[in-house]
């Protein structure tokens, strides 16, 4: 080996030795540093632990001061601690008597509570436990509890803490709402009207009536388009209404339109659509109420038809009455003329008996003429020929006084101020004239008196016409209102007067009746309905 080589190796060895010493020195220093650090850390750690304990106490205090009831219990439900609010809420003080929370749980919630506790023990927290509890005073409350476990130093659960919220009112509102919802559902479901709720023209909800009407199921209706159930001819009308509603020009519309059922048949329905808008005015929902009026419309048409027929036949009857009366009256006039010419032209040859017979003939003719007039009047009463006007009954009576024959020994007296009615004057005239004539004619006493009374009831005007005449036997009180029923055979009486009276009273939805005593007099009472007057 060369000297150079040895020299080199020796130097290298020396260098290595020095480096090792250096490293040992560094290692030693580092070890010390580490030891110091550990010591320091240990100190810091214990300091931290204390800090943590203190913090725990602070949190406790915070819970104790919160408004919601706060309870700490051991795992057997025995209360260890409560805040003031919990004391108030539960109505017991844990410092005075021992409280076991399991005593509070409503029997209905025992099972649920047991399951909840299991879950709490397993997971460590329990959120949103909801149950009914019974307080010491017997009152029931609904509570919601959020709870968590508290562990000891070894990490074993030793207690549970929880915050209680009284949700009794919330629950009540909830149940009330669901009750109302149920009621509303009952109404909607049992409604004979089809009801649908639409969002943007699409059905989202429909009731049974609607489904039955159209023959689609609820699910099918949700898919249906307006044009699928609307008859072609009504589509444009429907759309234009909906458009106006969308533009905010319309909040509600009613439309009679034809619907197409699933089986293709159609029905006519009255459709009433309302928009439910958001506060911004956008349409949130549309509610449509659909009423099948096919039958209704048919009945209406039928009614119209019947009315038309009735009107026509009434008019025919009216004309018929006029023709008959004319055709009966004309020959009467001829007979009357011939009889009077006989009496005039053959006065020389007629003896007293002949003159008398011709006279009787004239009286019969006169009676028959009156009868024809009476029938014509009677048959015309239904007819609303004249417009209703103001009719002063006092005036009517004084007109009648001038028209009819009142013997000198009879006085017709108005006892009350009579009202002014809204009615057909001719009919009111006929009514009073017939009754007053009857009264006047049947007085045989020396001092005849016909009294007219009138007063108001809540619904009717009531009048009475009394006389001190011969009176009407009880058995005729009903009969006299029937057509052609006369109590005496005379040319004065056709037996149609009271029938006319009755018919007019009926027309004005009134009643007519009488009090009468034979030999003392008769009082006719009648009423006429106000709102019609």
């Amino acid at each position: 080996m060369a000297n150079n080589e040895v020299e080199l190796l020796t130097r290298a060895l020396e260098r290595q030795r020095k480096a090792r010493v250096q490293a040992e020195k560094i290692l030693e220093a580092k070890s010390k540093e580490l030891y110091d650090l550990t010591k320091h850390l240990r100190h810091a750690n214990s300091k931290l632990e204390n800090l943590l304990d203190e913090k725990g106490d602070d949190m406790d205090a915070a819970f104790l001061n919160i408004i919601d009831p706060y309870v700490v219990m051991d795992l057997n439900f025995n209360v260890l601690r409560t805040n003031h609010s919990a004391k108030e809420f539960l109505g017991v003080d844990y410092t005075e008597e021992s409280i076991n929370l399991s005593d509070f749980v409503h029997p209905d919630f025992a099972q649920y509570t047991a399951e909840s506790i299991q879950s709490l023990l397993k997971v460590g927290v329990l959120r949103n436990y909801r149950a009914k509890i019974i307080l010491k005073d017997g009152s029931e409350k609904f509570v919601q509890i959020n709870s968590s476990l508290i562990y000891d130093h070894e990490g074993k659960p030793m207690a549970a803490q929880g915050i209680i919220r009284d949700i009794t009112q919330e629950k009540e509102i909830e149940s009330l709402l669901s009750e109302q919802r149920k009621e509303l559902d009952v109404i909607v479901e049992n409604s004979p009207l089809g009801i649908v709720l639409m969002v943007e023209g699409q059905i989202v909800k429909s009731n049974t009536a609607m489904q039955n009407m159209l023959g689609y199921s609820h699910e099918e209706l949700k898919q249906i388009k307006l044009k699928d159930i609307t008859a072609n001819e009504d589509m444009a009308k429907s759309e234009s209404y909906l458009k106006e509603m969308k533009l905010g020009k319309l909040d509600h519309f009613i439309l009679n339109k034809s619907y197409i059922k699933k089986d293709g048949t159609k029905f006519l329905a009255k459709t009433s659509v309302s928009a439910v808008r958001t506060t911004e005015g956008e349409i949130e929902y549309q509610v449509a109420i659909v009423e099948d009026i096919t039958e209704h419309r048919q009945l209406e048409l039928q009614k119209e038809q019947l009315l038309k027929q009735l009107r026509a036949s009434n008019k025919e009857l009216q004309e018929y009455a006029h023709i008959v009366s004319h055709d009966l009256k004309s020959p009467l006039r001829s007979i009357s003329a011939l009889a009077s010419w006989l009496a005039e032209d053959y006065a020389d040859v007629l003896d007293g008996n002949g003159v008398n017979q011709l006279q009787m003939m004239q009286e019969k003719i006169e009676g028959m003429d009156k009868l024809i007039d009476g029938i014509l009047t009677y048959s015309s009463i239904d007819k609303k020929t004249n417009e209703d006007t103001e009719v002063d009954v006092n005036q009517v009576i004084s007109e009648i006084r001038e028209i009819i024959f009142i013997p000198d020994h009879v006085n017709v007296v108005i006892m009350d101020t009579l009202p002014t009615l809204m009615a057909d004057k001719t009919k009111i005239h006929q009514l009073f004239q017939n009754l007053i004539s009857n009264a006047v004619v049947h007085i045989r006493k020396k001092d005849g008196l016909v009294k007219i009374h009138g007063h108001e009831t809540s619904t009717h005007w009531q009048f009475s016409i009394s006389d001190n005449g011969i009176g009407i036997p009880k058995e005729y009180h009903e009969k006299i209102f029937k057509v052609f029923q006369s109590l005496e055979t005379s040319e004065q009486s056709t037996g149609i007067g009271l029938s006319i009276v009755k018919k007019i009273v009926d027309l004005y939805e009134g009643e007519i009746w009488l009090d009468s005593e034979e030999g003392k007099g008769t009082t006719f009472h009648f009423t006429l309905k106000k709102q019609l007057l």
Partner: protein
């Protein structure tokens, strides 16, 4: 005064004749038994009457139809026409006045009353200025 009396009933015509004769007047009576006959007369070359007395209920052409036809002819539509009828039908009365009449007389039951009424009518028209066409 020339009177055109349109009436289908013979006794009615007798009543009017009797009334006229009692008046001892110089009125000339032209009789027609229905509307057609009356129109025929009016459209002939004969002298027109001064007054027409018209019954409403007649066979073939009734009084109201006659009135309507009368008013269609310029030459005769001015003739004063007095309706003489038993009909108290208000519709008839209104219709007649609507078409245009000079009076509407209801025939009373008794002949004496008839005579009195007709006497008044004739007297009234006698003192009127007439068309005399």
């Amino acid at each position: 005064m020339d009177i055109l009396f349109i009436e289908d009933d013979a006794i009615e015509t007798m009543k009017f004749q009797r009334t006229l004769s009692k008046l001892n007047s110089k009125h000339k009576l032209i009789e027609a038994r229905n509307g057609e006959e009356a129109l025929e007369f009016l459209q002939s070359e004969k002298k027109l009457p001064d007054v027409i007395l018209l019954d409403l209920n007649m066979p073939r052409m009734n009084g109201i139809e006659f009135l309507g036809k009368l008013k269609q002819h310029d030459k005769i539509k001015y003739l004063p026409t007095v309706v003489l009828t038993t009909s108290e039908n208000r519709d008839d009365l209104l219709e007649c006045y609507k078409i245009g009449i000079a009076g509407y007389i209801i025939k009373p039951l008794k002949y004496e009353d008839y005579e009195a009424k007709l006497k008044t009518v004739l007297e009234y028209w006698s003192i009127n200025e007439l068309v005399k066409a």
